[in-house]
Symmetry: C2
Subunit: 213 residues, 2 copies
Protein backbone atom coordinates (compact mmCIF):
# COMPACT_ATOMS: atom_id res chain seq x y z
CA UNK A 1 0.00 0.00 0.00
CA UNK A 2 1.56 3.22 -1.12
CA UNK A 3 -1.17 5.81 -0.95
CA UNK A 4 0.19 9.34 -1.14
CA UNK A 5 3.21 8.67 1.04
CA UNK A 6 5.61 6.48 -0.85
CA UNK A 7 6.18 6.38 -4.59
CA UNK A 8 2.88 7.52 -6.05
CA UNK A 9 2.45 5.83 -9.42
CA UNK A 10 1.30 7.92 -12.29
CA UNK A 11 -2.38 8.79 -12.09
CA UNK A 12 -4.24 9.43 -15.33
CA UNK A 13 -5.14 13.01 -16.16
CA UNK A 14 -8.76 11.90 -16.64
CA UNK A 15 -8.77 10.73 -13.03
CA UNK A 16 -7.47 14.08 -11.81
CA UNK A 17 -10.14 15.92 -13.78
CA UNK A 18 -12.87 13.78 -12.30
CA UNK A 19 -11.48 14.34 -8.81
CA UNK A 20 -11.85 18.02 -9.39
CA UNK A 21 -15.44 17.43 -10.43
CA UNK A 22 -16.21 15.28 -7.39
CA UNK A 23 -14.83 18.04 -5.21
CA UNK A 24 -17.28 20.55 -6.63
CA UNK A 25 -20.14 18.12 -5.97
CA UNK A 26 -18.93 17.39 -2.45
CA UNK A 27 -18.84 21.10 -1.71
CA UNK A 28 -22.46 21.34 -2.79
CA UNK A 29 -23.32 18.48 -0.45
CA UNK A 30 -21.36 20.19 2.32
CA UNK A 31 -23.41 23.36 1.89
CA UNK A 32 -26.61 21.37 2.10
CA UNK A 33 -25.37 19.74 5.28
CA UNK A 34 -25.38 16.24 3.79
CA UNK A 35 -22.58 14.38 5.46
CA UNK A 36 -22.43 11.02 3.75
CA UNK A 37 -22.49 10.25 0.07
CA UNK A 38 -22.24 7.04 -1.93
CA UNK A 39 -20.13 6.46 -5.03
CA UNK A 40 -23.40 6.00 -6.92
CA UNK A 41 -24.69 9.44 -5.97
CA UNK A 42 -21.42 11.09 -6.91
CA UNK A 43 -21.42 9.15 -10.17
CA UNK A 44 -24.88 10.10 -11.34
CA UNK A 45 -24.28 13.81 -10.69
CA UNK A 46 -20.84 13.68 -12.21
CA UNK A 47 -21.84 11.73 -15.29
CA UNK A 48 -19.81 8.58 -14.59
CA UNK A 49 -20.29 5.21 -12.97
CA UNK A 50 -19.98 4.25 -9.33
CA UNK A 51 -17.13 1.86 -10.15
CA UNK A 52 -15.25 4.72 -11.79
CA UNK A 53 -15.68 6.90 -8.72
CA UNK A 54 -14.42 4.15 -6.41
CA UNK A 55 -11.49 3.36 -8.66
CA UNK A 56 -10.53 7.03 -8.91
CA UNK A 57 -10.55 7.42 -5.15
CA UNK A 58 -8.80 4.12 -4.56
CA UNK A 59 -5.66 5.48 -6.21
CA UNK A 60 -5.22 7.75 -3.23
CA UNK A 61 -6.48 5.70 -0.32
CA UNK A 62 -9.69 4.31 1.07
CA UNK A 63 -11.91 6.97 2.44
CA UNK A 64 -15.28 5.27 2.56
CA UNK A 65 -17.14 3.04 4.96
CA UNK A 66 -18.54 -0.13 3.43
CA UNK A 67 -22.29 -0.27 3.59
CA UNK A 68 -22.43 3.47 4.17
CA UNK A 69 -20.54 5.63 1.70
CA UNK A 70 -18.06 8.46 2.02
CA UNK A 71 -17.96 11.12 4.74
CA UNK A 72 -18.51 14.36 2.79
CA UNK A 73 -16.28 16.86 4.61
CA UNK A 74 -13.41 14.41 5.07
CA UNK A 75 -13.46 13.34 1.44
CA UNK A 76 -13.67 16.93 0.22
CA UNK A 77 -10.75 17.88 2.39
CA UNK A 78 -8.73 14.90 1.23
CA UNK A 79 -9.37 15.72 -2.45
CA UNK A 80 -8.36 19.34 -1.85
CA UNK A 81 -5.13 18.02 -0.42
CA UNK A 82 -4.56 15.67 -3.36
CA UNK A 83 -5.18 18.44 -5.87
CA UNK A 84 -2.92 20.80 -3.98
CA UNK A 85 -5.79 23.16 -3.20
CA UNK A 86 -5.12 23.71 0.49
CA UNK A 87 -2.99 26.74 -0.32
CA UNK A 88 -3.30 29.76 -2.59
CA UNK A 89 -1.45 30.20 -5.86
CA UNK A 90 0.06 33.37 -7.25
CA UNK A 91 -0.64 33.69 -10.95
CA UNK A 92 0.72 36.06 -13.60
CA UNK A 93 -1.44 36.91 -16.58
CA UNK A 94 0.37 37.62 -19.80
CA UNK A 95 -1.76 39.31 -22.43
CA UNK A 96 -4.35 41.94 -21.60
CA UNK A 97 -6.62 41.29 -24.56
CA UNK A 98 -10.24 40.23 -24.68
CA UNK A 99 -9.86 36.89 -22.99
CA UNK A 100 -7.22 38.13 -20.59
CA UNK A 101 -9.54 40.84 -19.34
CA UNK A 102 -12.30 38.31 -18.75
CA UNK A 103 -9.98 36.03 -16.83
CA UNK A 104 -8.75 38.75 -14.44
CA UNK A 105 -12.31 39.44 -13.49
CA UNK A 106 -13.41 35.81 -13.42
CA UNK A 107 -14.38 34.95 -9.87
CA UNK A 108 -14.00 31.22 -10.36
CA UNK A 109 -10.22 31.52 -10.19
CA UNK A 110 -10.06 33.43 -6.95
CA UNK A 111 -12.77 31.24 -5.43
CA UNK A 112 -10.59 28.22 -6.12
CA UNK A 113 -7.41 29.69 -4.68
CA UNK A 114 -5.81 31.21 -7.75
CA UNK A 115 -4.91 34.88 -7.35
CA UNK A 116 -3.87 36.87 -10.37
CA UNK A 117 -1.15 39.11 -8.96
CA UNK A 118 0.32 40.71 -12.07
CA UNK A 119 -0.71 41.50 -15.64
CA UNK A 120 1.58 42.11 -18.59
CA UNK A 121 1.09 43.27 -22.15
CA UNK A 122 3.25 44.66 -24.94
CA UNK A 123 0.62 47.13 -26.16
CA UNK A 124 1.59 50.65 -24.92
CA UNK A 125 -2.07 51.72 -25.00
CA UNK A 126 -2.81 49.08 -22.37
CA UNK A 127 0.28 49.44 -20.17
CA UNK A 128 -0.35 51.61 -17.11
CA UNK A 129 -4.10 51.06 -17.03
CA UNK A 130 -5.65 49.72 -13.85
CA UNK A 131 -7.49 46.47 -14.16
CA UNK A 132 -9.34 45.05 -11.24
CA UNK A 133 -6.93 46.77 -8.86
CA UNK A 134 -3.81 45.82 -10.80
CA UNK A 135 -1.71 47.98 -13.09
CA UNK A 136 -0.99 46.46 -16.50
CA UNK A 137 2.80 46.25 -16.80
CA UNK A 138 4.96 46.33 -19.87
CA UNK A 139 5.87 42.81 -20.94
CA UNK A 140 9.49 43.99 -21.02
CA UNK A 141 9.30 44.15 -17.22
CA UNK A 142 8.41 40.48 -16.92
CA UNK A 143 11.86 39.55 -15.59
CA UNK A 144 12.18 42.37 -13.06
CA UNK A 145 8.62 42.06 -11.80
CA UNK A 146 8.64 38.28 -11.41
CA UNK A 147 11.98 38.53 -9.63
CA UNK A 148 10.38 40.94 -7.15
CA UNK A 149 7.09 39.08 -6.93
CA UNK A 150 7.50 35.45 -7.97
CA UNK A 151 4.48 33.51 -9.15
CA UNK A 152 3.52 29.85 -9.08
CA UNK A 153 1.78 29.79 -12.43
CA UNK A 154 1.25 31.85 -15.54
CA UNK A 155 -1.78 32.22 -17.76
CA UNK A 156 -0.73 32.90 -21.34
CA UNK A 157 -3.20 34.83 -23.47
CA UNK A 158 -0.93 36.21 -26.16
CA UNK A 159 -1.30 35.84 -29.92
CA UNK A 160 -0.04 32.51 -31.27
CA UNK A 161 3.20 33.95 -32.63
CA UNK A 162 4.27 35.41 -29.28
CA UNK A 163 3.38 32.46 -27.07
CA UNK A 164 6.51 30.32 -27.39
CA UNK A 165 8.82 33.25 -26.74
CA UNK A 166 6.94 34.23 -23.61
CA UNK A 167 6.85 30.61 -22.46
CA UNK A 168 10.63 30.47 -22.80
CA UNK A 169 11.07 33.59 -20.71
CA UNK A 170 8.64 32.32 -18.08
CA UNK A 171 10.36 28.97 -17.71
CA UNK A 172 13.72 30.73 -17.49
CA UNK A 173 12.20 32.65 -14.58
CA UNK A 174 11.35 29.38 -12.86
CA UNK A 175 7.64 29.23 -13.62
CA UNK A 176 6.70 25.56 -13.54
CA UNK A 177 3.05 25.66 -14.65
CA UNK A 178 1.45 27.42 -17.59
CA UNK A 179 -2.16 27.62 -18.67
CA UNK A 180 -1.96 28.43 -22.36
CA UNK A 181 -4.82 29.97 -24.35
CA UNK A 182 -2.75 30.60 -27.47
CA UNK A 183 -3.59 28.15 -30.24
CA UNK A 184 -0.13 26.60 -30.41
CA UNK A 185 1.56 23.57 -28.96
CA UNK A 186 4.20 24.94 -26.57
CA UNK A 187 7.57 23.22 -26.26
CA UNK A 188 8.87 23.34 -22.68
CA UNK A 189 11.31 21.47 -20.46
CA UNK A 190 9.78 18.36 -19.02
CA UNK A 191 9.66 19.66 -15.46
CA UNK A 192 7.25 22.34 -16.64
CA UNK A 193 3.59 21.49 -16.96
CA UNK A 194 1.51 23.14 -19.66
CA UNK A 195 -2.22 22.90 -20.17
CA UNK A 196 -3.49 24.31 -23.44
CA UNK A 197 -7.07 25.48 -23.82
CA UNK A 198 -8.05 26.12 -27.41
CA UNK A 199 -11.49 27.71 -27.57
CA UNK A 200 -11.97 27.47 -31.32
CA UNK A 201 -10.94 23.83 -31.21
CA UNK A 202 -13.72 23.07 -28.78
CA UNK A 203 -16.25 24.44 -31.24
CA UNK A 204 -14.63 22.33 -33.93
CA UNK A 205 -15.26 19.15 -31.98
CA UNK A 206 -18.90 20.23 -31.96
CA UNK A 207 -18.98 20.91 -35.70
CA UNK A 208 -17.38 17.53 -36.27
CA UNK A 209 -20.14 15.91 -34.25
CA UNK A 210 -22.84 17.81 -36.16
CA UNK A 211 -21.28 16.98 -39.53
CA UNK A 212 -20.93 13.28 -38.77
CA UNK A 213 -24.36 12.01 -37.97
Amino acid sequence: MFHKTGGMRRVAESTVRRLSLYLRLLEEFEEKGIDTVSSGALASLGGTTSAQVRKDLSFFGSFGKRGLGYPVPELASRIREILGLNRRYRVALIGAGKIGSALVQYRGFRARGFDIVSIFDVDPTKVGHRWNGLTVLDAAELETELARQPVDMAVLVTPAEAAQGVADRLTKLGVKAILNFAPVQLAVAEDVVVKTVNLALELETLSYALANR
Copy 2:
Protein backbone atom coordinates in the same frame (compact mmCIF):
# COMPACT_ATOMS: atom_id res chain seq x y z
CA MET B 1 -12.83 0.26 -47.23
CA PHE B 2 -15.49 2.54 -45.78
CA HIS B 3 -13.91 5.94 -45.61
CA LYS B 4 -16.42 8.69 -45.06
CA THR B 5 -19.05 7.19 -47.34
CA GLY B 6 -20.45 4.12 -45.74
CA GLY B 7 -20.85 3.44 -42.04
CA MET B 8 -18.17 5.54 -40.41
CA ARG B 9 -17.06 3.74 -37.29
CA ARG B 10 -16.70 5.76 -34.17
CA VAL B 11 -13.61 7.94 -34.21
CA ALA B 12 -12.04 8.86 -30.87
CA GLU B 13 -12.45 12.41 -29.63
CA SER B 14 -8.68 12.60 -29.21
CA THR B 15 -8.32 11.91 -32.92
CA VAL B 16 -10.74 14.69 -33.81
CA ARG B 17 -8.87 17.13 -31.59
CA ARG B 18 -5.58 16.28 -33.22
CA LEU B 19 -7.13 16.68 -36.67
CA SER B 20 -8.09 20.18 -35.70
CA LEU B 21 -4.51 20.78 -34.64
CA TYR B 22 -3.07 19.40 -37.88
CA LEU B 23 -5.39 21.70 -39.79
CA ARG B 24 -3.96 24.74 -38.07
CA LEU B 25 -0.44 23.58 -38.90
CA LEU B 26 -1.37 22.84 -42.50
CA GLU B 27 -2.79 26.33 -42.84
CA GLU B 28 0.54 27.74 -41.67
CA PHE B 29 2.31 25.65 -44.28
CA GLU B 30 -0.18 26.83 -46.89
CA GLU B 31 0.61 30.46 -46.09
CA LYS B 32 4.31 29.78 -46.43
CA GLY B 33 3.70 28.15 -49.79
CA ILE B 34 4.98 24.75 -48.68
CA ASP B 35 2.98 22.21 -50.60
CA THR B 36 4.08 18.85 -49.26
CA VAL B 37 4.46 17.76 -45.65
CA SER B 38 5.39 14.47 -44.00
CA SER B 39 3.69 12.85 -41.04
CA GLY B 40 6.93 13.40 -39.14
CA ALA B 41 6.90 17.15 -39.70
CA LEU B 42 3.26 17.40 -38.66
CA ALA B 43 4.00 15.26 -35.63
CA SER B 44 6.93 17.24 -34.30
CA LEU B 45 5.04 20.54 -34.58
CA GLY B 46 1.89 19.03 -33.12
CA GLY B 47 3.59 17.24 -30.26
CA THR B 48 2.79 13.69 -31.33
CA THR B 49 4.42 10.89 -33.28
CA SER B 50 4.40 10.27 -36.99
CA ALA B 51 2.61 6.95 -36.50
CA GLN B 52 -0.13 8.77 -34.62
CA VAL B 53 -0.57 11.27 -37.43
CA ARG B 54 -0.79 8.53 -40.05
CA LYS B 55 -3.22 6.50 -37.95
CA ASP B 56 -5.41 9.54 -37.35
CA LEU B 57 -5.60 10.31 -41.04
CA SER B 58 -6.08 6.68 -42.01
CA PHE B 59 -9.47 6.65 -40.30
CA PHE B 60 -10.74 8.91 -43.06
CA GLY B 61 -8.87 7.78 -46.14
CA SER B 62 -5.40 7.77 -47.57
CA PHE B 63 -4.27 11.20 -48.61
CA GLY B 64 -0.51 10.83 -48.82
CA LYS B 65 2.00 9.68 -51.37
CA ARG B 66 4.47 7.08 -50.13
CA GLY B 67 8.01 8.34 -50.20
CA LEU B 68 6.77 11.91 -50.42
CA GLY B 69 4.28 12.95 -47.80
CA TYR B 70 0.93 14.73 -47.90
CA PRO B 71 -0.15 17.46 -50.31
CA VAL B 72 -0.77 20.45 -48.03
CA PRO B 73 -3.77 22.16 -49.65
CA GLU B 74 -5.59 18.92 -50.42
CA LEU B 75 -5.09 17.55 -46.92
CA ALA B 76 -6.15 20.84 -45.32
CA SER B 77 -9.25 20.89 -47.46
CA ARG B 78 -10.08 17.29 -46.64
CA ILE B 79 -9.70 17.88 -42.90
CA ARG B 80 -11.94 20.95 -43.14
CA GLU B 81 -14.52 18.73 -44.76
CA ILE B 82 -14.16 16.02 -42.10
CA LEU B 83 -14.51 18.56 -39.30
CA GLY B 84 -17.52 20.14 -40.98
CA LEU B 85 -15.69 23.44 -41.44
CA ASN B 86 -16.60 24.10 -45.07
CA ARG B 87 -19.65 26.05 -43.98
CA ARG B 88 -20.38 28.72 -41.39
CA TYR B 89 -22.20 28.13 -38.13
CA ARG B 90 -24.69 30.40 -36.44
CA VAL B 91 -24.10 30.56 -32.71
CA ALA B 92 -26.15 31.98 -29.86
CA LEU B 93 -24.37 33.22 -26.76
CA ILE B 94 -26.26 32.89 -23.51
CA GLY B 95 -24.81 34.93 -20.69
CA ALA B 96 -23.34 38.38 -21.19
CA GLY B 97 -20.92 38.25 -18.26
CA LYS B 98 -17.17 38.59 -18.18
CA ILE B 99 -16.35 35.53 -20.21
CA GLY B 100 -19.30 35.98 -22.52
CA SER B 101 -18.13 39.46 -23.43
CA ALA B 102 -14.67 38.16 -24.24
CA LEU B 103 -16.08 35.42 -26.43
CA VAL B 104 -18.23 37.75 -28.56
CA GLN B 105 -15.17 39.76 -29.35
CA TYR B 106 -12.87 36.79 -29.78
CA ARG B 107 -11.72 36.73 -33.39
CA GLY B 108 -10.74 33.07 -33.31
CA PHE B 109 -14.38 32.02 -33.51
CA ARG B 110 -15.27 34.08 -36.53
CA ALA B 111 -12.00 33.18 -38.24
CA ARG B 112 -12.95 29.54 -37.91
CA GLY B 113 -16.47 29.92 -39.26
CA PHE B 114 -18.43 30.42 -36.06
CA ASP B 115 -20.60 33.55 -36.08
CA ILE B 116 -22.22 34.71 -32.89
CA VAL B 117 -25.58 35.98 -34.11
CA SER B 118 -27.46 36.61 -30.87
CA ILE B 119 -26.71 37.33 -27.23
CA PHE B 120 -28.99 36.79 -24.27
CA ASP B 121 -28.88 37.66 -20.59
CA VAL B 122 -31.32 37.88 -17.70
CA ASP B 123 -29.72 40.97 -16.18
CA PRO B 124 -31.90 44.03 -17.05
CA THR B 125 -28.85 46.31 -16.81
CA LYS B 126 -27.29 44.39 -19.67
CA VAL B 127 -30.33 43.86 -21.88
CA GLY B 128 -30.57 46.41 -24.68
CA HIS B 129 -26.87 47.24 -24.74
CA ARG B 130 -25.00 46.89 -28.02
CA TRP B 131 -22.14 44.48 -28.02
CA ASN B 132 -19.98 44.14 -31.03
CA GLY B 133 -22.87 45.13 -33.27
CA LEU B 134 -25.42 42.95 -31.50
CA THR B 135 -28.10 43.97 -29.03
CA VAL B 136 -28.18 41.95 -25.83
CA LEU B 137 -31.64 40.39 -25.63
CA ASP B 138 -33.63 39.37 -22.59
CA ALA B 139 -33.21 35.66 -21.94
CA ALA B 140 -37.02 35.46 -21.82
CA GLU B 141 -36.97 36.09 -25.56
CA LEU B 142 -34.85 33.02 -26.23
CA GLU B 143 -37.76 31.09 -27.73
CA THR B 144 -39.12 33.85 -29.95
CA GLU B 145 -35.72 34.96 -31.17
CA LEU B 146 -34.39 31.49 -31.94
CA ALA B 147 -37.64 30.71 -33.76
CA ARG B 148 -37.04 33.78 -35.93
CA GLN B 149 -33.31 33.26 -36.30
CA PRO B 150 -32.37 29.64 -35.66
CA VAL B 151 -28.85 28.76 -34.62
CA ASP B 152 -26.65 25.71 -35.06
CA MET B 153 -24.95 25.92 -31.72
CA ALA B 154 -25.12 27.68 -28.39
CA VAL B 155 -22.38 28.87 -26.08
CA LEU B 156 -23.52 28.74 -22.48
CA VAL B 157 -21.86 31.18 -20.11
CA THR B 158 -24.41 31.38 -17.32
CA PRO B 159 -23.86 30.77 -13.62
CA ALA B 160 -23.83 27.09 -12.66
CA GLU B 161 -27.36 27.14 -11.22
CA ALA B 162 -28.94 28.47 -14.42
CA ALA B 163 -27.10 26.27 -16.90
CA GLN B 164 -29.25 23.15 -16.87
CA GLY B 165 -32.48 25.11 -17.25
CA VAL B 166 -31.12 27.02 -20.22
CA ALA B 167 -29.78 23.82 -21.74
CA ASP B 168 -33.26 22.30 -21.49
CA ARG B 169 -34.80 25.28 -23.26
CA LEU B 170 -32.14 25.22 -25.96
CA THR B 171 -32.57 21.54 -26.71
CA LYS B 172 -36.34 22.01 -26.80
CA LEU B 173 -35.66 24.65 -29.46
CA GLY B 174 -33.74 22.10 -31.49
CA VAL B 175 -30.20 23.19 -30.68
CA LYS B 176 -28.02 20.11 -31.15
CA ALA B 177 -24.62 21.39 -29.98
CA ILE B 178 -23.70 23.28 -26.82
CA LEU B 179 -20.37 24.64 -25.65
CA ASN B 180 -20.76 24.92 -21.91
CA PHE B 181 -18.61 27.15 -19.71
CA ALA B 182 -20.71 26.67 -16.59
CA PRO B 183 -19.00 24.40 -14.07
CA VAL B 184 -21.69 21.73 -14.14
CA GLN B 185 -22.22 18.46 -15.93
CA LEU B 186 -25.22 19.04 -18.20
CA ALA B 187 -27.77 16.28 -18.76
CA VAL B 188 -29.08 16.30 -22.33
CA ALA B 189 -30.74 13.93 -24.79
CA GLU B 190 -28.24 11.74 -26.53
CA ASP B 191 -28.66 13.37 -29.93
CA VAL B 192 -27.33 16.60 -28.42
CA VAL B 193 -23.60 17.07 -28.12
CA VAL B 194 -22.19 19.06 -25.22
CA LYS B 195 -18.62 20.09 -24.66
CA THR B 196 -17.87 21.52 -21.23
CA VAL B 197 -14.93 23.83 -20.66
CA ASN B 198 -14.18 24.41 -17.02
CA LEU B 199 -11.53 27.08 -16.63
CA ALA B 200 -10.92 26.65 -12.91
CA LEU B 201 -10.60 22.91 -13.42
CA GLU B 202 -7.77 23.45 -15.88
CA LEU B 203 -5.86 25.37 -13.23
CA GLU B 204 -6.56 22.56 -10.81
CA THR B 205 -4.87 20.04 -13.08
CA LEU B 206 -1.85 22.35 -12.89
CA SER B 207 -1.95 22.61 -9.12
CA TYR B 208 -2.23 18.83 -8.95
CA ALA B 209 0.89 18.52 -11.07
CA LEU B 210 2.77 21.04 -8.91
CA ALA B 211 1.70 19.36 -5.69
CA ASN B 212 2.66 15.87 -6.84
CA ARG B 213 6.30 15.95 -7.73
